[in-house]
């Protein structure tokens, strides 16, 4: 294009472009370029940022996981050895069980409660609706560290509020971080407190998208509140509900700050690894222990694949629900 005018033509036989024609053609090709490539430019910022902070670290982690990787020393390629080690690593499976245990304890009551609250907030006759909707979301705005510290105090053995209250009904002091069940319960309660309101709002939005006339018709036919909920609200809420389940799954699998702070910042998660989650185990291997960074990277990829698997499972469920 334009280079033919700036560089001397090799042969005089080359046809010189008419002088008045050049800007027009230039503009035309610019317009064509614009149509072709502008969309890429518009979306480029996301992909650039994702590439640098998302894709590159992921691939780098994959590369690390194939090595015996010392953070400040040597890196030796060992193929899939880190992954085979995972299969027989007792503490990895322990962390996996802890993660799922806390996940179940936090997700199930949380979603049931959220469903209940959303249904309450969806009532037409409720007073001060906006106030309640705002109020229920507030726990989610509080920083997770603050939540964990306050809950850590509630669950103290000697001066904790939880044990003080249990004392009234004659239950002995519980060493909350000393056993599996009690530590799981305590951590799950933090997660529940923080995320119930969030899920309530999403479910509420889903409920409001259900056409009103369905309820009116049901009412005329003589269906009560309960029956309306089971026959209309729940079936039509299913897509929203599955979305909420997927979000909770991803969040639950990556649980880190709550259990870490609950154990006074110790990455082991209790004296017996009672509440060490997968994310904590990854951190222990990959970051706390300088010399096993490669193994930590393998844990990270295992975690990634587990989340992927769970999401796939959810996806299949959605498809089946749609049919």
């Amino acid at each position: 294009m334009s280079h033919s005018t700036t560089v001397a033509p090799p042969t005089p036989a080359a046809p010189p472009s008419p002088p008045g024609d050049t800007p027009k053609r230039w503009r035309l090709s610019l317009a064509r370029l614009d149509i072709k490539y502008s969309p890429y430019l518009y979306i480029a910022p996301f992909f650039l940022v994702f590439g640098i902070f998302g894709l590159y670290p992921m691939l780098r982690t994959l590369w690390m996981s194939l090595h015996d990787w010392d953070m400040i020393g040597d890196h030796t390629f060992i193929g899939l050895d880190n992954y085979t080690r995972l299969l027989t690593d007792e503490y990895f499976w322990n962390a996996l069980i802890n993660t799922f245990g806390i996940f179940v304890l936090s997700t199930v009551p949380q979603l049931l409660l959220a469903l209940f609250l959303a249904n309450l907030l969806n009532r037409t006759l409720l007073r001060a609706k906006t106030f309640f909707r705002m109020a229920i979301f507030i726990p989610n705005v509080v920083s997770v560290a603050a939540v964990a510290i306050v809950f850590g105090m509630l669950y103290q053995r000697e001066y904790g509020l939880a044990n003080w209250l249990l004392g009234f009904v004659g239950i002995d002091q519980i060493d909350w971080d000393g056993q599996t069940w009690s530590s799981w319960t305590a951590i799950a309660s933090m997660v529940n407190w923080r995320w119930t309101g969030y899920n309530t709002l999403i479910l509420l939005a889903g409920m409001q998208a259900i056409p009103r006339d369905l309820y009116e018709a049901a009412e005329i036919d003589g269906a009560g509140q309960w029956r309306q909920f089971w026959r209309i609200t729940l079936p039509l809420l299913r897509p929203t509900f599955i979305f909420v389940v997927i979000l909770s799954t991803i969040g639950g699998m990556q649980l880190f700050t709550e259990p870490l702070l609950f154990g006074n910042g110790n990455i082991i998660g209790g004296t017996q690894r009672d509440f060490q989650t997968l994310a904590m185990y990854m951190y222990e291997m990959g970051i706390t222990n300088l010399n096993s960074a490669g193994y930590g990277a393998a844990v990270a990829w295992a975690l990634f694949m587990i989340i992927g698997l769970m999401s796939l499972l959810n996806f299949v469920l959605v498809r089946r629900a749609a049919k």
Binding site: L55, Y56, G152, G178
Partner: protein
Amino acid sequence: MSLTTRRSRLAASALAAITAVGGLAACGNDDEPAAGEKPSKLVVETFGEFGYDELVKQYEKDTGIKIELRKTAQLREYRPKLVRYLATGKGAGDVVALEEGILNEFKSNPRNWVDLAPLIDDHSEDYLPWKWELGKAPDGRLMGLPTDVGSLAVCYRKDLFEAAGLPTDRDEVSALWPDWDSFLETGRAYKEGSGGKALIDTIVAVSDAALFQQGDDLFYDKENNIIAETSPAVKASWDTATSMVELSAQIETWSPEWSGGFKQGSFAATFCPSWMLGIVSENSGEENKGKWDVAAVPGGGGNWGGSWLAVPEQSAYHEEAAKLAEFLTNATSQVEAFKAKGPLPTHLEALQDDSFLSYTNEYFSDAPTGKIFGESVSKIEPIHLGPKHQAVKENAFGLALRAFENGQVSEDEAWQQFIKDAQIQGAF
């Protein structure tokens, strides 16, 4: 050109651009100056309070080299920073303070650090011998120059001792427990006199104190094999700690219950490295001023923490940085630093210095802390720590002891847990 190939080409070039960015970040650091060139500025990197502010000004005046003091408040934020500097090969100061646990861990990759011995005068006779030896890497290079030591004492509550019918004078209290057996007896007497209260916070602190008094090999032998199961020092420390379980309030050090316990009087005594005095007074508050005092530690001697100054290989000015580290760790500087912020000297001359020995602490009933800690420090036996000493001590030894202390497992089960975890935490 079909849409799919164009898309994949775009993706490929994006990927190439990304890897190029990553590749750029990985290399670099070839900007070594010509030998003998005088630096315009040196950076000293420390955590907490080393008391170097005035010393650095003096050094600037003497040499004309500008010094920048870079401080990180918390040790737990400091370590990741150092790891990042070393992993990327850039960013570290010219003189870097290394805390005991960090130093031992970094020793397994000594080539990240400059051998100081050829760059400075011979100081091998000047410091506490064990402290000097710990500053050497396995390959023999002198990795760090000794700064301070976390010499050990016992902080105790005079009012609680009095209420339980025990003596309160610091010399009499020290005389109560020349060894650990008599400490146990004292604890029992306190329990009886106070109506069943606990003397100490946790047995993990006892194990820490006792471990350093044993001398010789702890979790590793000299070839750095893990010997947790057979090491007599480890077993002795374990037995001492577990025997104290009846005296313990079962409160983990650094937990919120522990911080609150100072005001509540949950325990009447705790093991105090010199740097712990500030934490005790802060947790106890102004209302308890004068109620605390400092006595000698049972068994004599002890250590908890302490640091070294090292020069990273990535520094552009090895020789000048080494000279600065040498200055900051000499006897006069150590005494000045002690007066400014309280880190205990390790230089033998500094330990004999009058202004150090005559120092008293107002909050702790004017206890002569300089003298008490100075005496404790001179009794420490030379020891060998090994690369992951800190991880084994905290995440295997300490956790197993806590599990036993809390009644979660029997002593035998706790020991088995420790042996197993020591192998995992100690691997390097």
